[in-house]
């Protein structure tokens, strides 16, 4: 059932894309000191989990394979204090409460998510090539 493989790979594409969106949001808000909720931007992290495909229960004898899903996006509460006396949001001592975002770490995560996305695209292309080849048997 290559169809199942397609669903699995597609689930990973969606999951990695969501993860990339979260990382992009972190990078864009790396210096946001004031949000709508008040306070600095909190770093967000996508949580990945394997999930069984929807019709797994109908195939009891076959070990069903699992795709991946973003089951939630957590907001980490930590912030960091930076000494920036001229900043409009600085307190009496000149410290500003900044988001706890390390751009280098976010970039590393982004590269991992991109690579995972591309790998799943390759897996789909491999599956397509196999399906097309198998259909040649009928020609």
């Amino acid at each position: 059932m290559p169809h199942e493989a397609l669903n699995i790979s597609a689930s990973a594409l969606a999951a990695q894309r969501t993860r990339l969106n979260v990382i992009a949001e972190n990078l864009a808000n790396a210096n946001t000191t004031k949000t709508v909720q008040g306070g600095p931007y909190r770093r967000r992290v996508a949580r990945l989990e394997s999930e069984a495909p929807p019709f797994a229960s109908l195939l009891p004898d076959q070990q069903s394979l699992r795709g991946v899903k973003v089951t939630g996006v957590a907001s980490l509460p930590e912030t960091r204090r930076a000494f920036m006396p001229g900043h409009p949001d600085a307190d009496h001592d000149g410290y500003v409460e900044m988001p706890n975002i390390n751009p280098v770490m976010e970039m590393t995560d982004m590269m991992a998510a991109t690579r995972a996305y591309e790998a799943n695209v390759s897996a789909i292309q491999a599956m397509k090539s196999m399906a097309v080849k198998a259909m040649e048997l009928g020609r």
């Binding site: 493989a5 070990q63 048997l137």
Partner: protein, 126 residues
């Protein structure tokens, strides 16, 4: 053994079933390459690609022609020691296997096609 399709066609058929099933497992590994706690799977002996070892010794009477069937259960096949989050998938190694497996599948199908074309041309007389 079928009267019309000899042992080669049967071996190729089993090879194509093997390749299709293996792609599913590898796709699952690739999809979960970043999932915490996920363990990589593969078919037994797949890394040696020795189909002969995969065939169960006693023929399975449940199959239509009583042919011995492949053992297609998946096994744990980690790429290396587990990372901090419990995941043991190396996405690059898995992609190499995906490519190899796709090539193997396509060659097997091509060989099957040659078998069938030979039979068809003998039947048609041209």
């Amino acid at each position: 053994m079928s009267a019309l399709f000899g042992g080669v066609v049967e071996a190729l058929r089993q090879a194509s079933v093997f390749a299709t099933r293996r792609h599913e497992l590898l796709a699952e590994n690739v999809a979960n390459a970043e999932t915490p706690g996920f363990r990589a799977h593969d078919l037994s002996f797949a890394h040696e690609l020795d189909l002969a070892k995969l065939v169960q010794s006693t023929p399975d009477p449940r199959t239509p022609l009583g042919q011995s069937e492949l053992d297609l259960r998946m096994l744990n096949q980690p790429d290396g020691p587990a990372k901090l989050d419990g995941n043991d998938v190396d996405i690059d190694k898995q992609m190499v296997r995906v490519t190899q497996n796709a090539l193997y599948h396509n060659v097997v199908v091509q060989l099957l096609k040659a078998q069938f074309d030979g039979l068809k041309s003998a039947i048609n007389g041209r």
